[in-house]
Symmetry: C2
Subunit: 340 residues, 2 copies
Amino acid sequence: MSTATVSRVLNNPNLVKPETRERVLAVVGRHEYVPNSLARGLMTKQSKTIGVLIISISNSYYMEITEIIQRRLREAGFMMLLAATDDSADLERRYIREFASRRADGIIVIDASDENFSDGFFAKESAKRPFVLVHSNPAISASGIGQVFVDQRLGMRRVMEYLEGLGHRDVAFLRGEKGFSFDIKEAAWAEWRAERSREVRPDLVLRVADGNSEDAIPLADAAVGAAIREGRLPSAIFACNDLMARGAVNAATRAGLRIPEDLSVVGHDNTILAVSGRVQLTSVDLKMRDIGAESARLLLAALSGSSAGRRSARIEPELAVRDSAGPAAAADSRVRGGSA
Amino acid sequence: MSTATVSRVLNNPNLVKPETRERVLAVVGRHEYVPNSLARGLMTKQSKTIGVLIISISNSYYMEITEIIQRRLREAGFMMLLAATDDSADLERRYIREFASRRADGIIVIDASDENFSDGFFAKESAKRPFVLVHSNPAISASGIGQVFVDQRLGMRRVMEYLEGLGHRDVAFLRGEKGFSFDIKEAAWAEWRAERSREVRPDLVLRVADGNSEDAIPLADAAVGAAIREGRLPSAIFACNDLMARGAVNAATRAGLRIPEDLSVVGHDNTILAVSGRVQLTSVDLKMRDIGAESARLLLAALSGSSAGRRSARIEPELAVRDSAGPAAAADSRVRGGSA
DNA sequence: CTGAAAGCGCTAACAG
DNA sequence: CTGTTAGCGCTTTCAG
């Protein structure tokens, strides 16, 4: 009963005579032998481990994606190394190096930094092992890197289309000060106006200092409250996430505005916040589960070497329509009070 | 320039003459050499990796804990393997085996299963490598396993004390059908009543089928709405999490009850939901960040072999007091409308 | 201070 | 079908 035989029993049981196989298994069970993956990986050049990089762990957006990824990886027999970059391109690089050092078989980066993209870092790394990058930057499409492109511009257009259909000509835009995801949405918002020869009025853009932490709620509340008092809020407002949308709803309600009769509000991300209050938010659903599933699928496909499938995917956000947006200037024709 | 020298430069630079050190570093940099952790781990018996097990990834409770853990691990030079058990004791075991196989230097299990505790599995595993178990089961205290005990009973008593001080004699208890965390809270709630010779009235306990998913909001809404209509809701209600607390608030508001004048509501977990609505929820803060920090601290201490520090920690939940609970039967003496 | 040599636990040829 | 052998890439004596 040599070590080689044990190895065979564990990896290719059918190469071993049933009788000896049983004997080996018995000993293995009795001694609770746990194979050393490090040694195995050294030999096979496979760690059965995937590195996943996100910006922040305590963020429901990333966690929903990560949950699906982890589930899919488990089904395929992989474990997940997870780390958060805090939006630092430097940390992103360092973690990718760590993944590489641990010989991760593949790497998924959610909201990959522009910086590491433009200087070719990802391209170089992706030559060494399968990579999947999740992002919403239309400018990025180069090379043979696995990509999941989240079409946020499309999401914004769906919002604008929907509100336009309800008769809202002007839509205020509520965003956090800094952040690519805010920028790309604002660009799409401005584009929409430009296409219709409507002036891209800066006074329609409301900014709060911190758009992502939970402070965003009171900050948005204050910003929207001020806009209402100063009479510079149109009939509808779009918020770049549900946090700020909630803040907007709170401010409007406190100011005595009814939603959606007096003000239409649309949020983004379709998180639990959208359905937590008495007024249910119409919100853009980024299809997080799809993003996770596609990321995992793409990576797993690359790992199994099947150069068959597509190397990239595109996710189309959808508008989850609820109660917070309604027809413009049609307050009287609406009936209040609801079903259940 | 042998491999041994390179190894020394990377691990004990001072053992090498500055001149050769530079030379090695130059080559390392030029070739972008990334050491193979698998090989290193095989030799050193250290993987610089920690396994973390939680019940569900898309759950803000676990993610807040995990976020801190990951940060602390990074600071100490460890990477994190993360997996979700879906509350299955079997999966829990399997993942712990996977961690073991990958030679994780230590393992943290958040909300460890009772099953694997009582049959001695954790005790046995913990002999092989440092373990930290996070749980709120007072019955568990055995052995030399690292433990972070979250005193949920204390949290409940603080709620009851607070409401009692506000004049609420009867507090309805809103919970999900199944779950240890619901059971332990209900036990503390019942205990409180028993101590005061108040009958443990079953009609004060409201149950919803699924207490943890986002369906909990409408389910709680319906349950509380029914209780209101049937006139069997006392002056205060405690919900086992903020999801259900939000549902309760929505139902009460729809029924025309003012909060907190007509009904006091207390939630649990102190999540973003507590501060998202116009009425800010008073909620039990389980101190997730402390739980994460203590877990990491305990594990790291065990790893550094300093048998000095305590092997366990106890977390005391606190009540985050906001606006959703107020004096009982004192509606008239309260002034409505607020500060900003 | 540096090189040579052994070996961590495993798998993959290669004989038998 | 099974044992022997070599070697994955590193660290660690042990000499020099």
